[in-house]
């Protein structure tokens, strides 16, 4: 990559389904525009690169004011899912399934496959050392595309001149 190549760095700090896809979609779009892409996974964002977790990310209806009945196929924009219904067993699984179905219908690949596309396209993935230590993980718990486990300071060094996007 030449000196004049635009650089973007994404920090993924959340592990819910709806917070994983923005980085994947934008990172993929950036690669498609010839941009140099680095992604740093920290705190719950580590779930996106954990072998055992990445295809089990979820979205919960509880505490999510944007999730309305329309997600369930009822066309009433402002009718919410009552919190008391949201806490019922299986509601998180149901909401997750509905979102995954919608993504699949749009031709969006599952998280693991999407992330591998980014790696194949040249995106550089790093895991946050503090978070990895806090969760008691090892390098082998993470997908192969992860280059290294690094400190926040290392990340700041390696993304000099990059546009940083925190998710």
């Amino acid at each position: 990559m030449g000196e004049d190549t635009r650089k973007m760095a994404f920090i993924c700090s959340k592990g819910t389904l709806d917070m994983a896809y923005p980085a994947l979609v934008m990172g993929w779009a950036a690669l498609g525009n010839g941009v140099d892409v680095t992604i740093f996974f920290t705190f719950w964002g580590l779930d996106i690169i954990r072998k055992s977790r990445q295809d089990h990310l979820e979205i919960a209806p509880v505490g999510n004011t944007s999730m309305k009945m329309s997600m369930m196929g009822v066309h009433a924009d402002n009718v919410g899912i009552p919190s008391l219904v949201g806490v019922l067993p299986g509601m998180t699984a149901l909401a997750t399934k509905l979102m995954k179905d919608k993504m699949r219908a749009l031709g969006v690949p599952p998280v693991s496959e999407y992330l591998q596309m980014l790696v194949d396209g040249g995106a550089k993935l790093y895991a946050c050392k503090l978070s990895v230590d806090m969760m008691g993980l090892k390098k082998e718990d993470l997908v192969d595309g992860v280059i290294d486990i690094v400190t926040a300071s290392d990340f700041i060094d390696m993304t000099e001149g990059a546009q940083i996007i925190f998710i």
């Binding site: 979609v25 779009a29 010839g34 396209g121």
Partner: protein, 103 residues
């Protein structure tokens, strides 16, 4: 606007994509490829270019994922053949419009 590529006057948009499918030919493709930093178009390049021309919708080139799924050529290979933004580069070289879509 009109510009001359490989000795032929062709219609292009502000981003340099050809706008008329029938104005394209292989010499034009080779010339645009050079502009995009690809010195020579190999049979592997042509396979992708021809597939995209055959699968364009409303003159727009397919997205990268559509190309990899449709041709069996891997993402890695696509980035090696057309470095820095494969789908957009193929679209320009193939005389098609920019692909539309997020995957």
């Amino acid at each position: 606007m009109i510009r001359s590529i490989a000795g032929q006057a062709v219609h292009v948009n502000e981003e340099g994509f050809l706008t008329a499918l029938d104005e394209w030919n292989k010499d034009i493709a080779a010339e645009i490829a050079k502009e995009e930093g690809i010195a020579e178009l190999t049979p592997a390049h042509w396979k992708v270019i021809e597939w995209c021309r055959a699968h364009a919708v409303n003159g727009r080139s397919p997205t990268l994922r559509q190309i990899t799924e449709g041709t069996g050529i891997s993402t890695k290979e696509m980035f090696a053949l057309f470095p820095k933004g494969p789908a957009k580069k193929v679209a320009r070289i193939a005389g098609l419009g920019k692909p539309e879509g997020c995957v």
